[in-house]
């Protein structure tokens, strides 16, 4: 459970630090005029970003706990390491490219360079779909060589981890499609949506790199 504990300790620690900064050296029992108190208000970040950050903390906890289970289960006697399909390297590259494309789109949106939004979003969508299809093909390759989910615990974890990561990407694709429809519908301000999507994409790339590294090394 060390992985889960350390991850949680980092997340709770940063929350604790922020809370202490808010609450140390205050004298709540002293009534003060409103202006004075208002300056102690929280960061100005917008609510969607706060909600997304909170959700990423939930997802981090989720993946960290699966990895905890992975490391505990691995130590039991019947673990036979799985040889991952080489295709995963290609998929990883595609996902990295998707993240880069989204970042490029986001930068364009921030500059107000609206001509680049449509191609940027389309390329990102295509690359991300390619990643999902690639993952599916990797599954098929494993099935073809007789590696099923029940063959060994390492297989079970492989399918579980890639499956759950894929589901998170699918969820992201839903939000991506809404942002893309907005852009094609000529909506005025899509900067926020694109910004948040980009953060989510980078997060899922990071998760995938950790998962992939772990799968390769064990």
């Amino acid at each position: 459970m060390e992985i889960g504990l350390i991850t949680l300790a980092i997340m709770l620690g940063s929350l604790l630090g922020w809370l202490l900064k808010q609450s140390l050296n205050t004298q709540p029992w002293v009534a003060a005029p409103v202006e004075e108190a208002a300056h102690q208000a929280p960061f100005n970040a917008n609510s969607r970003l706060v909600a997304l950050t909170t959700f990423l903390a939930v997802a981090t906890s989720f993946f960290a706990l699966i990895l905890s289970a992975y490391s505990l289960r691995m130590e039991l006697g019947d673990w036979i390491p799985l040889t991952e399909p080489q295709l995963l390297w290609t998929n990883t590259t595609v996902l990295v490219l998707a993240s880069i494309a989204f970042q490029w789109t986001r930068n364009a949106a921030m500059r107000g360079d609206e001509a680049k939004l449509k191609p940027g979003l389309i390329v990102t969508g295509l690359l991300t779909s390619a990643f999902l299809i690639g993952q599916y093909i990797a599954w098929q390759q494993l099935f073809a060589s007789g590696e099923f989910i029940t063959s060994n615990p390492s297989n079970a974890f492989f399918f579980l981890l890639t499956g759950i990561h894929g589901l998170h990407i699918l969820g992201g694709m839903y939000v991506w499609s809404r942002a893309t429809l907005k852009v094609f519908g000529g909506a005025a301000d899509v900067r926020e949506s694109i910004q948040l999507c980009t953060i989510y994409w980078h997060f899922l790339l990071l998760v995938w790199l950790v998962l992939f590294g772990l799968l390769l090394s064990t």
């Binding site: 459970m1 889960g4 504990l5 949680l8 997340m11 709770l12 929350l15 604790l16 809370l19 808010q22 609450s23 205050t26 709540p28 029992w29 002293v30 009534a31 003060a32 005029p33 409103v34 108190a37 208002a38 300056h39 102690q40 208000a41 929280p42 100005n44 917008n46 609510s47 706060v50 909600a51 909170t54 959700f55 903390a57 939930v58 997802a59 906890s61 989720f62 706990l65 699966i66 905890s68 289970a69 505990l72 289960r73 039991l76 006697g77 019947d78 673990w79 989910i149 029940t150 615990p153 079970a156 579980l160 759950i164």
Partner: protein, 587 residues
């Protein structure tokens, strides 16, 4: 740029127009209606669990008397009673119910930050409850694995409900976690982003603090249940071996090998222990506000109370294995977890001292909510002290799986939070409904419930010391138990039925209040917090009329010297009333 809260923006006002009946009461996005939907559903499903506990007690008090209770049924009753009470009643009621109702009103917001997500959260929760209820009626019935759902027995033949019951149970939990996450994101974001002008974090009432930290615990801990639930679903449905060891079942080989049941226990309790505090922290917060209001005195040590809530929240993640002393884990782990468990008693005891010190020299009004809040202090100290026994490995080993454990967790996690639930409902009922309840009926409800629960659970401690094992359908021939143990069991059953029936007083009071109750004053308890300062009672959609409130002081300005009233609401400016407790006080 100055701080402008979301709810401060003008366009928000226009969103809160009157609507049709359906959008107002069914597909509602108003946090108060959603709170009532959450609360109502939770209490309804809690009544189901109450009936289940009555059935269990009938069997234990009078074995071989009731033909409709057989061993399979009994285990299903035990399992569903525990699961419903912990997750679907207490978690949903404290966070979905009180969290939804109180957060926006107490921090001075018009609504949750994401009202649509909030509505979705309720309906997904309702779906999880429906799935759970369906599991009573599928072939084989609900699961009887115990609320901890330990493998391998949870999914092997021989346990009731291993065909469909366990699948629906796990599915329902997964759906519940989705609902909780949607709600939780809302509560956290609303507390961080939508507080009214002047409402700094350290001016928030402790109810909001408790709900806020409990929500964070839930968001980080429920994933552990989700992970174990998904893995167990795979073990059951496609025969992976995450948790299932090589095992033969009735002469056949079900095809499992090498899995670890203890791994499940680790994941489950990694969720399960924070869950205790997901229920307890909102209760701590609410009880602080109720005590302070009805004792006409500021809460003792407000900052310490906040930090204690935070400390308890953090520590609750490193004590989980004290539920597993008998699982065969490394004894050194047991030592570590006993230490952390005893450390968590420090901030908890701090809170108890502060509650008692709040009462000291207060102007105590023993109204119904106050009675329940003081009752909570008793039951919580009681359950907390037995926790010190069970937290120590050497004392836990002989007491494990006896009725001492049942008595402990029912005092600390059953009776105590439920007393706070009642305190909170009676306290906020005038605001929720706009009508007063019947004081006399409420007092009868308190005394029957409070004394009744003691007569249920005190004898159970004794039974536990005698070695009566929990979870058993019948004792059979057990030489070490005196015959009087059975007599005591019959007494407990009679008390339990009495307490269950006494809850009719509560529902009668609600019905009486809705039909005949006198109209409530907007602020009948002379409380300081913002929810009592709304222009309408009950508050309309949008809560505050045209102008949002401004917060000028903390929530505990009671009996401030030099002010004509014995309370100063949070929205009274500093220059029209004394500037807080320090006024006129020599240091």
């Amino acid at each position: 740029m100055g701080y402008v809260s979301i709810a401060d923006r003008d366009h928000e006002v226009e969103h809160h127009d009157p609507q049709t009946f359906i959008t107002k009461y069914v597909w509602s996005q108003d946090h108060k209606v959603i709170a009532l939907q959450y609360g109502g559903t939770a209490i309804l499903v809690g009544l189901v669990a109450l009936v289940l506990s009555a059935m269990m007690r009938l069997q234990l008090g009078f074995p071989d008397t009731f033909s409709f209770i057989n061993p399979e049924n009994y285990y299903q009753f035990v399992t569903m009673h525990g699961m419903i009470m912990v997750i679907y009643l207490l978690t949903a009621l404290f966070l979905g119910g009180f969290g939804n109702y109180l957060i926006p009103l107490m921090v001075g917001s018009r609504d949750m930050v994401f009202p649509f997500l909030n509505m979705l959260s309720y309906w997904v929760y309702l779906l999880s409850v429906i799935i759970l209820m369906i599991s009573f009626f599928v072939p084989g019935g609900a699961t009887g694995a115990g609320w901890t759902l330990y493998p391998p027995q949870a999914i092997m033949p021989g346990t009731p409900g291993t065909d469909w019951g366990i699948l629906l149970m796990l599915l329902s939990l997964v759906v519940f976690i989705v609902a909780f996450t949607m709600g939780g994101l809302n509560y956290v974001t609303t507390v961080l982003q939508a507080r009214c002008r002047g409402m700094t974090l350290m001016r928030m009432p402790l109810s909001v603090w408790g709900i806020f930290i409990a929500t964070i615990l839930g968001l980080l801990a429920f994933p552990a249940l989700l992970v174990s639930g998904i893995m167990m679903l795979l073990d059951k449905a496609v025969h992976t071996s995450f948790f299932m060891p090589a095992i033969s079942s009735m002469g056949a080989d079900p095809g499992y090998s090498g899995g670890s049941p203890v791994l499940f226990q680790h994941l489950f309790w990694f969720f399960g222990h924070p869950e205790v505090y997901i229920v307890a922290l909102p209760a701590f917060g609410i009880v602080s506000d109720v005590l302070s209001t009805h004792a006409r005195k500021n809460i003792f040590g407000y900052r310490m109370m906040v930090w204690a809530i935070i400390a308890i929240g953090g520590l609750s993640f490193v004590v989980w294995a004290h539920h597993m002393y008998v699982s065969g884990m490394n004894p050194y782990f047991g030592f570590f977890f006993a230490t952390t468990t005893l450390i968590i008693a420090v901030p908890t005891a701090l809170k108890v001292y502060n509650w008692v010190l709040t009462l000291w020299e207060g102007n105590i009004h023993l109204r119904v909510p106050m009675l329940f809040a003081i009752g909570f202090i008793f039951t919580f100290i009681h359950g907390g002290l037995t926790g010190l026994f069970l937290g120590n490995v050497t004392i836990d080993l002989p007491l494990s799986d006896t009725y001492f454990v049942v008595a402990h967790f029912h005092m600390v996690m059953g009776v105590s939070p439920v007393l706070v639930v009642f305190a909170a409902i009676y306290h906020w009922w005038p605001k929720i409904s706009g009508r007063m309840f019947n004081e006399k009926l409420g007092k009868w409800h308190f005394w029957t419930t409070f004394l009744g629960t003691y007569s249920i659970y005190l004898p159970m401690h004794y039974l536990g010391f005698q070695g009566v094992p929990r979870r058993y359908f019948a004792m059979g021939n057990t030489d070490f138990l005196p015959a009087s143990a059975q007599d005591l069991n019959a007494v407990i059953t009679i008390s339990a039925l009495f307490v269950a029936v006494a809850q009719i007083l509560f529902f009668a009071n609600i019905i009486w209040s809705l039909r005949k109750g006198p109209k409530a004053d907007p602020n009948p308890w002379d409380a300081t917090t913002l929810e009592w300062q709304t222009p309408d009672t009950p508050p309309k959609h949008g809560n505050w009329g045209h102008d949002l409130p401004e917060c000028h002081r903390w929530a505990y300005d009671y009996s401030v010297p030099g002010y004509e009233d014995d309370f100063i609401p949070q929205n009274v400016p500093a220059d029209t009333a004394p500037a807080g407790r320090d006024h006129g006080v020599e240091h």
